[in-house]
């Protein structure tokens, strides 16, 4: 049977996902609290995998906690830290434990993280990881050996609609679709006109697109992301709107902007859903959805 998330994707409803990040350490109180707050307002919860190349509690462990709380996990898997043997082993384990959704990522570079002298693996890339998922589903591993017990997954990937230049990204997008990406969670988008152009292209393919919504918490953060985060571009009018928020009200304005974007995406049926990244402010995700009229 298809995973709950896959059923939601195929239902035609406007799908909402969000994400939580495991702790650096064994204190999972904050993450468990976030799961409690989010589990009834979203269709699935991503658990990040050593996000930003910072070593943490593993994503598969975080997904187990999401499952225990009765919510639907999406396992983020990067190719940075594990070779093809470890990735396949973790995919088998995840499936056995009832974790059926997987987001296949390349992974951030080691030098941007907190273990700057570590060895980068990248034995596989995100396209090859998608194909690996489909290979396991065929009852074989990458060595061509038969599996005893065959898993099945709902596999997805990411795309950066604001990338400059966009053309190389679109080539990779098509390759990911060809290797079985059933859904995409995009990098943050703020400029709907630009996103519509991307969607016009993406609609040619048989895959679901969830627009990435990153909550703005201050004008400074918006400027910082535009300047420093690849593929994120916050238009000046939104930065001005954040800067114009009354003292102490910036987060509220950020929630309103995120809610407005989601509301328009849904109303105009521009894409199939949204993936909300609240980056440390997970507790306001229900407020964002309320602002979106959901």
């Amino acid at each position: 049977m298809a995973s709950k998330f896959k059923q939601a994707l195929n239902s035609g409803k406007f799908v909402v996902t969000t994400e939580v990040g495991p702790a650096k350490g064994t204190n999972m109180d904050a993450m468990l609290h976030h799961i409690d707050l989010l589990k009834d307002v979203v269709d699935a919860i991503n658990v990040t995998d050593n996000q930003s190349s910072v070593m943490r509690f593993p994503s598969v462990g975080g997904c187990m906690l999401v499952k225990q709380k009765g919510a639907e996990p999406i396992l983020q898997m990067t190719c940075r830290d594990r070779n093809r043997m470890a990735l396949q082993a973790d995919l088998l384990y995840a499936n056995y434990m009832g974790i059926e959704n997987v987001l296949c990522l390349t992974g951030d570079a080691i030098p941007v993280g907190d273990h700057k002298e570590a060895k980068s693996v990248f034995d596989l890339d995100s396209v090859q990881l998608l194909k690996t998922v489909r290979t396991l589903e065929s009852g074989k591993d990458l060595g061509g050996n038969d599996l005893d017990g065959v898993p099945s997954y709902c596999a997805g990937a990411i795309v950066t609609p604001e990338a400059n230049p966009i053309e190389p990204q679109l080539v990779k997008f098509e390759k990911k679709v060809n290797e079985g990406a059933e859904f995409f969670q995009t990098q943050a988008i703020y400029d709907l006109d630009n996103f519509k152009k991307f969607m016009k292209h993406a609609r040619k393919y048989d895959t679901k697109i969830l627009a990435g919504i990153v909550l703005l918490s201050s004008a400074g953060m918006a400027r910082y992301m535009t300047k420093n985060i690849p593929g994120i571009f916050v238009p000046q009018d939104l930065i001005d709107e954040m800067a114009g928020a009354p003292k102490g009200q910036a987060l509220k304005t950020g929630i309103e902007i995120a809610g407005r974007l989601i509301g328009e995406l849904k109303k105009e049926a521009i894409c199939d859903g949204v993936h909300i990244m609240a980056i440390g402010k997970e507790e306001v995700v229900p407020d964002i959805l309320a602002a979106a009229g959901m």
Binding site: R80, R84, T106, G107, D108, A109, P111, V112, S120, F122, D123, L124, D125, S126, V127, Q128, K131, L142, I158, V159, T160, A163, N164, P165, E167, P168, Q169, V171, K172, E174, K175, N178, E179, Q187, P230, G231
Partner: protein, 214 residues
Amino acid sequence: MKSITKQKTLEEIGQLLDGLNSVFIAGCGTCATMTHTGGIEEVAAMKLSLQELGKTVTGTTVIPAACDDMTQETIKKYEDAIGSADAMLIMSCAMGVHRVSLYHKKAVIPALDTLFIGLEDNYGEFHEVCAQCGQCVLGETGGICPVTACHKGLVNGPCGGTNDGKCEVDKNRDCAWTLIHNKLAEQKRLDLMYKYQPPKNYQVTPKPKVTKIT
């Protein structure tokens, strides 16, 4: 092909020479001369540095090409000076260090770290062009190697970390896949970028790599 090297710190060289009081220094007249890490001048400077550390330098030379088997002749020629030293300090890439170690029983200490095999772009500027992966993809990537030129060595296109055609690791570095895309587009061969590239075979020749030309 050039073997690009960097001199170790004098502190590390001092640690490696701990207890080895007399030293014979050998540089290399090929790559290490070009990279200014093991030519005549650097060998002379090293001699002074070691003397300041209280070492006795029994002799110095610059081997024409330390990695070549002719190195054996140079070693024989300096037998007296080498024989009276506790160790040889080799200012060449690791291939030269290895070669010298084959020809003498004395302790061989590297003065350089071998960084990569590369080309010189401008005077004193080098970049890696080949990682010797054993499965050359240049025919499908417009002559630009993603295994070396992409920080992550990706073979199926760019990651999401690229911005304005640059790499997330260093904004001064070009994104290999943007370059490859543009080159293939210029050659009207962009269809090659859409081709799925399977995982690389990391055991083309199992480590340690050896081959015999037949």
